[in-house]
Symmetry: D2
Subunit: 343 residues, 4 copies
């Protein structure tokens, strides 16, 4: 059994980790920390876990996380980098669901996240946890930077096109839409039900932290300089993410060839579903599951890729568990066979 | 033109007052106070008011509210009682949308609201602003205690039955459901979209502040001792309130007589719509309008009254404007002719 | 492996059976019928099942359901009674998720469902599939009448009170609220998003088919004549059911004794969670899971029981799988360990 | 008083016309036709209109629409062209909210709408009812083709850029999102609450009827050949439309100049609100009102225009009333001063 610790179990990625790990056959939940909720049974905060998770939150200083085999950080940016070095030194593997290790470039990190990086030496060692594009490195990793939710959809959607040198990397557009849970479990007026329901808006159009992360990764796939316009929007639904990606073809290719390209790319990917050309994936077809679905469209020399996922599963906690499975030599789908909840 | 001031214009009852008063033909919006938002144009906070309300919030100490003819308090409990005495002394009428003057009994107030009452001498003078049951007193009032949202539905639903001595006042049940805006515009986890959407729950079953208010008022209609079981629930919708009222008949009466009783009672009430016997009023039929609709059902010797309203209009700000109209000699429906937004 | 057939797999209880059975370790999905969709791959209609269910719908006359070990009917009322006799004769077990076998009394069935019963001789043989109250009979059953969604909550909530003779069986009130999926996957204006969203209403107050079913079952628990007022309401959420039950105590009992009564009653019930006295269960704490949760409240001599479940799982398809497990000698929770999706 | 007839009053644009016209000071509702609902009081179908609209639906053959001054067609495509010639001949003005007269080119109409056009001679006479771009022609019009909802946002967003020759007309992208009411009040599975709620998807990406309408209009503003990629999506909200428009600048211009360009263009437009550069308009800021709001963003040489409106008001019935006002010499905002419903 893998002994698992979770730092910061009171947010949405934390409770989602608990939902998945509570039924994972090879996992033993060992410790869950929360500074504020020390002593509170986890199931008192999340009644969905009554009878399934019997742990209580413990204060960070009381939990001996070094007894764990792996520790997930479901925390705000900055927490993982403070604790990771000691855990790694003690032989504990670390999976950070925040952004502390996503950017290889320290200056870029500090520019976008407005905090100094306290262990830049780990940036090189950290492995970016997008399984479908990075499987082998993840298998041997000790420290995982779990990808952002938007970046997951943009990378898996653009990757086959960039790798094949088919499109203008300097003119990528990603018009993305996220459910409200992406904003986290923080008491804020903008995400109150009465503000976010029956409403739609863009946000952060001038600059979103997922842009540098995505551009840096996309740049790995092509020699052309990547330029990405990323426009996030807020959808009145709890879970779900839909990215509408636009790329201009730079050479002639048939729709059948495009489709074949994507199907070949993801033939072995258990959690990427390439749907028939011209179909319209719905976010609910992934609700609660680790599946990402995409479909191709064509309008003249523009390729449109529609990508959907559950932002809390493939976009966060499910992806983290997928990484954990690989790090411990398990089948990457272990404990992740939930069928999407539809309706 | 009536010069209107609003204290606390940043919550939902405040912005709803602004929506209604911005198009009221006899009103001149004169001052809106907010401690936190001093100097911020109102329309910057509420873009729905761009081009309609040109005022900025002003700090309470800067706003000379004594220049107003009437001041609405759309504030947390406790604010109105601190400022009302001075305003009244200056000849300004006061309408409090909170609970400061709803309970005639000081001890009951202090028990339920956990704060001392600072001007108990005004409790007697204050007029309870439920227009349909109190019209004449409101016309002459200087200080209005605007009713709570739930109490409005419970009183208008039970009143004809109690007044006619038809039911057991000691066995009333009100199973009530409210949209989330009833919880106000406060940053709280429980009313986040991701918590309150796609969900239903009861709350405050052990005791809700609207119980003593309702019981005190219902007791005015009958000599029997009133006992009320009030169970509030939270509905994943922004606006709307639905009360399902149960009362046991203590003497024989036909359905036709029951229906006639209610129709007669509310024949002159522009904002109470007695629907056909056996129909099912929908909250959306009142969305954005000041109308309250109700319908009667019968099961053996139990009368079931279904009552709907928009909790922010007839349940709060619309009712307050209705009171204001009467206090200034206007038709009570002035500025309140909005048709409900359906769909 | 249990070979399973499903008649009528295109509605919500059908696709929910598929979601549950696709990951059930002892089940082999063998046939799914649909008159209209003959030949259509199931996953083309429900993309959530892509890669999970490889069957296509087949026309009823083409599917040899007698090769199955058990057949579920997820059909409108009237279909199961037409096909059950032949299947039973062929040794196939039958679980009907509709109402064909729920009422023991043929006349009552025909009065409420407006169709003649074509195999009344099976009414006696049929076992009512409410596991927690009927476990032993279900183990030996060949024909299961799976309970209605509302009746499940009302029975499990009222049962301990009636069995203990604590309450006035002649004055029960159930104020119930259901998510919209309870209305099924039928093209109807009343359940369109633009009609049912941001809205709340009661329906069927004059008489709902779940009343005779519930009253007949409750009557089994007490010698007093049962009278039930049942008021269903429609909540703007997809899944979830919340029943607020009111019963008047006829003898003195402490809150602690009440709580102990319920805890003892359901001590062995894996899918009934008796929450702490005075708590407020939320429907989302059961979303997608087979758990039913309840909590007790007290107001004078009235007991209030709050009951929540997912109407499509414990209220329909999950309960049916629970029955199947028992009928085939499996642990009743096999394949039903999904943790509720929260948020 | 303008005598108004409405053909097809049972859909969402029909009931929205009724909501607006019921309080329009210069309008007398005279006839509302519905083939199916002959004799049914309008307020029985739409209880929001109880006490406000006292008409009953009448069968088309019973209603003498020639007694009206103007007739609105809130009908499926094809109805208006069958009845408009006779009405126009009788001196009645006609406003069609469907597509019968939106396309000047008969062949294009027939290609996209799959029905023959029965009065192509009226296509030339029909005036496209986008007030802000066509005010003078509308004043003198007898037959109005009311614009589609999406096209309204795309035209008002792209117009200043195209007219000023600032952008590449051959590379326009419109990523648009609509509330579900845009699909109309038709009983269809895809728009059921349980299908469309808590979900997001694109639809019609391969070709939507609003593309030829928009391209034809945009082509009027520029000599360059227009090419538009239009991607519609469905948002789980009742009302509201958000268009995210992308255009590549072909010459240098500062953000301040861009902003000034839009502000100058719409300086006299009572219903177009140019928000500050870089802001994020929300659909709810227009809910129930005739206002369209837009804001500009810039990313390198790409201009991003965010446009929001209520699809049923400025996107349909409000725009039609705005046209009517002009056709009858009234102020274009008469009866359209509703403040958006927020929250």
């Amino acid at each position: 059994m893998i002994k698992v610790g979770i730092v910061g179990g009171t947010g949405y990625t934390g409770v989602e980790l608990l939902r998945l790990l509570a039924v994972h056959p090879d996992v033993q939940l060992t410790a869950i920390t929360s500074r504020k909720e020390d002593g509170l049974p986890v199931a008192d905060m999340f009644p969905s876990l009554r009878g399934r998770v019997n742990l209580a939150f413990s204060a960070p200083d009381k939990a001996d996380l070094t007894q764990c085999d792996v520790v997930f950080f479901a925390t705000p940016h900055g927490v993982a980098m403070a604790q990771a070095p000691a855990l790694l030194a003690a032989g504990v593997k670390v999976i950070d669901l925040a952004a502390d290790f996503r950017l290889k470039d320290q200056a870029t990190f500090e520019q976008w996240y407005k905090i100094p990086h306290t262990c830049p030496e780990l940036l090189k060692e950290a492995v970016y946890g997008l399984v479908e594009l990075n499987r082998d490195a993840i298998k041997g990793a000790k420290l995982i930077a779990n990808p952002g939710c938007y970046p997951t959809t943009m990378q898996l959607g653009f990757y086959p096109l960039l790798k094949a040198g088919l499109v203008d990397a300097g003119g990528l557009i990603a018009d993305c839409k996220s459910g409200v849970s992406g904003a986290g479990r923080k008491a804020e007026i903008a995400t109150l039900f009465s503000e976010a329901s029956d409403n739609f808006k863009a946000y952060g159009v001038a600059g979103h932290r997922h842009t540098p992360e995505t551009v840096a990764q996309l740049q790995n796939f092509t020699d052309q300089p990547v330029n990405l316009i990323f426009t996030p929007h807020l959808v009145p639904m709890i879970r779900g993410m839909h990215s509408t990606l636009y790329a201009r073809l730079t050479r002639d290719i048939s729709n059948e060839e495009l489709q074949a390209l994507f199907e070949a790319q993801y033939a072995d990917a258990a959690f990427v579903d390439v749907m028939p050309f011209g179909s319209h994936p719905e976010t609910r077809s992934t609700r609660g599951s680790n599946m990402l679905r995409l479909a191709l469209h064509r309008n003249g020399n523009t390729v449109i890729v529609l990508v959907v996922q559950d932002n809390l599963v493939k976009g966060a906690s499910g992806q983290a568990v997928q990484c954990m499975n690989l790090m411990f030599g398990l089948d990457e789908g272990k404990g992740l066979n939930q069928v999407a909840l539809l309706p």
